[in-house]
């Protein structure tokens, strides 16, 4: 079974639409900015990849919710669904939910209610949607929702599902990460020997998934299979066994092998252990499968957009397949030894005939999801 992607939307620090973000990735200009939203004196890290949309005078609640409703509306419009989603399930994957709003409520007395912590409240108001779900799935969250959407369609529960991911940086998350990272990253540099860790980004992405053949809108790409599992190994560190199982399960579901993959969108969070683990697994997976497919890691420019990052990678993969162009990994000049043999795109965009893309997303709690998407031609 395959599933049609008929609507896409995204917002990040480097653009307010998939096309803008893709163009910025291909242009490859430095996108990190000095940390603005939090008091820099309190942190060791000085840079982040924020969306600069706050009013003068400080932070406001519900920014993650605002991006979410924007991208869900745009993706629905792209798919020709209109503004009434009362009959369409909407699945939202997130790392932090509206924890930034919780922080502003607790410390600064911002006007935030319990019902604002999950996204159904806003989706009801904006689209009349009631079959809505907020899943906290760390940085695999939005690819998890894609997998669950394919299940809903396969089980005959729905023909059309909107999946999305959104996250705004939180002080507790940014701060605790800053506290534990050994080095102090001044940029997110996945797979480069200079990588020192992860820096947060912000953003949201949404995709409309439909039963094959039922859509009126043009099909952007086809979902071939999504795996989802858990390492059950460590609360924050990745595990090569769990990731390997996730990749192989995705191939099995998609009916493909490593030799069929034309593009890998890496999780690439820029942490030394994360990059080492992901590249080691991929070396094993692609060993004996011919020349390595091109691989890229968009967090080098978007920062780590957390819950929505997997879906943002997927949307970029769809555009890469449409354009036959793979954006480079910004700042990658000296790949780590474990990535030897992997075709990490450096310097300038690579071109090629791309049919199957693999998208990786791994998160805290040892949660892994891998999606296989096929170009629509």
């Amino acid at each position: 079974m395959t599933w049609d992607i008929t609507g896409m939307a995204a917002v990040a620090n480097i653009g307010a639409s998939p096309r803008e973000i893709f163009a910025a990735l291909c242009a490859g200009r430095e996108s990190r900015k000095l940390l603005k939203v939090f008091d820099p004196a309190k942190y060791r890290a000085a840079y982040a990849y924020e969306i600069d949309d706050r009013p003068k005078g400080g932070d406001i609640p519900r920014r993650a919710t605002g991006w979410l409703t924007t991208v869900v509306g745009q993706a629905a419009a792209d798919a020709g669904l209109g503004e009434d989603l009362s009959q369409v399930p909407v699945l939202v994957g997130t790392t932090m939910r509206e924890q930034r709003s919780l922080e502003l409520w607790w410390r600064d007395d911002a006007d935030v209610a319990l019902e604002d912590l999950h996204f159904g409240t806003a989706l009801k108001a904006a689209f009349g949607a009631s079959t809505t779900y907020t899943f906290a799935g760390a940085c695999a969250a939005s690819l998890y929702t894609l997998g669950m959407a394919t299940d809903l369609i396969e089980l005959g529960i729905a023909d059309t599902v909107v999946v999305a991911g959104t996250d705004a940086a939180t002080e507790s998350g940014f701060g605790t990460l800053d506290r534990v990272q050994n080095g102090i990253p001044d940029a997110l540099r996945p797979f480069d020997a200079t990588h020192k860790g992860m820096l947060m980004g912000e953003g949201a992405a949404a995709v409309v998934v439909q039963r094959a053949g039922t859509a009126d809108a043009p099909v952007h790409a086809r979902v071939r299979g999504v795996s989802m599992n858990c390492d059950a190994h460590h609360a924050t560190a990745p595990d090569p066994d769990g990731i390997t199982r996730a990749v192989r399960d995705a191939y099995r579901r998609a009916g493909v092998g490593a030799q069929d993959i034309d593009l890998v969108m890496l999780h690439g969070s820029g942490t030394p252990l994360g990059d080492l683990t992901e590249s080691s697994v991929l070396r094993d997976i692609f060993h004996g499968a011919g020349a390595s497919p091109p691989m890229t890691a968009i967090k080098a420019m978007t920062g780590h957009t957390l819950g929505g990052s997997g879906l943002l990678s997927l949307v970029m993969a769809v555009l890469a397949m449409k354009e036959g162009t793979v954006p480079p990994v910004l700042g990658l000049t000296d790949p780590i030894p474990e990535a030897a043999g992997l075709d990490l795109v450096q310097g300038a965009p690579a071109s090629g005939d791309l049919t199957f893309a693999q998208i990786n997303a791994f998160g805290f709690g040892g949660i892994n999801a891998v999606a296989i998407v096929e170009a629509a031609r």
């Binding site: 932090m96 507790s172 709690g365």
Partner: protein, 337 residues
């Protein structure tokens, strides 16, 4: 336009019934699931003062510790752990599904207070996992090496019922052979402030699995998850969940504040768990499932309907639980403590 879209999540695959085979409680004042069916005396049950300590629980947030207790009881009840609390089921294909809204609220607000006061150098590195809202699911998976899908549903007051429905979906879609579903909310200063009422510790876990798998290993099914919907109001939720014969409902686990149109099921016996236990948030739906299992297991007549949400919330969820057929007579019924 949308081609025959539907929001129903009812009986998606009649060939694979999903049943409840284990229940575990970590709720102060509630000793057994049967207690939930009677006026609570507020005695016995989980003792937070002593029950949250121990080597296994060190450095974990309060909600995770509560959840681990409830999960241990439920897995034991289902016959899926041995005498050393080691999981004996199919770990690679067992899912963890957590329902919580406020599980890490205290951790988040404590961290921001520390940063404001001392900067990030004042933070404990051990606090990293609980900055992410899925921390509880990770700890439960690690404790029992459960490597199937790992979900955390943070969906408001319907979360617990939603979590049970998603656990069933994972099983029917053959992503999991079993699931441990835990509804948990911790007591704490932040939780009390946001609820506007005194918060209480509450964790409840249920094990769900396909009826055929339960039968083949001789487990005793307590209830079958038969229908579910999350819809704009109670009437729509009941219709979509397949609750067409309201006369067949013997017990309605109701959210009286949200239900509004109570006349829809005037005949059924009604229990509002929150009227006795206070706000349960993400724990509510799973606790309703535990009460339903106790009701159906006691041989009482009628199906059980659990509802949550309604007025003041973004939706209403309904879950229909029906009696499970007894295990085949050729099988020895296993003992349950």
């Amino acid at each position: 336009m949308i081609a025959t879209s539907t929001t129903r999540m009812r009986n998606p695959n009649a060939r694979r019934e999903v049943v409840v085979t284990g229940v575990g409680l970590a709720v102060p004042g509630v000793a057994t699931c049967g207690d939930l069916l009677r006026p609570l005396l507020g005695e016995g049950g989980f003792d937070s003062a002593t029950g949250l300590r121990g080597r296994e629980l060190r450095h974990k947030d309060r909600a995770s510790r509560l959840a681990l207790h409830a999960a241990a009881f439920a897995l034991h009840d289902a016959g899926l752990t041995d005498a050393d609390d080691v999981f004996t089921g199919a770990a690679d294909s067992t899912a963890v599904v957590i329902s919580t809204n406020l599980g890490n609220a205290d951790s988040v607000c404590e961290a921001i207070d520390t940063i404001t006061r001392d900067g990030v150098r004042g933070l404990s590195p051990l606090g990293l996992p609980q900055t992410s809202s899925n921390v509880i699911a990770g700890w439960v998976a690690i404790r029992y090496r459960l490597r199937g899908p790992n979900l955390t549903v943070c969906n408001g007051v319907t979360s617990g019922l939603d979590a049970l429905a998603w656990a069933r979906n994972l099983i029917v879609a053959q992503r999991a052979e079993a699931a441990v579903v835990v509804g948990v909310e911790p007591a704490g200063e932040v939780v009390t402030k946001i609820l506007g009422e005194q918060s209480t510790d509450a964790a409840v876990a249920v094990v769900v699995e396909p009826a055929d798998v339960a039968a083949s290993r001789g487990a005793r099914p307590r209830a079958t998850i038969t229908g579910y919907a999350r819809a704009q109001n109670l009437a729509a939720a009941l219709a979509c969940a397949g609750v067409t014969d309201t006369q067949a409902v013997g017990l309605w686990l109701v959210d009286e504040a949200g239900a509004g149109s109570g006349h829809l099921l005037a005949a059924a016996h009604r229990i509002d768990l929150e009227s006795q236990l206070g706000p349960l948030s993400g724990a509510l739906g799973v606790l309703q499932c535990a009460a339903a299992a106790a009701h159906l297991d006691s041989g009482a007549t009628g199906n059980v309907l659990a509802t949550a949400g309604g007025a003041g919330h973004d939706a209403t969820a309904a879950l229909l639980l029906t009696p499970s057929p007894p295990p085949r007579p050729s099988r020895q019924e296993r003992g349950h403590p």
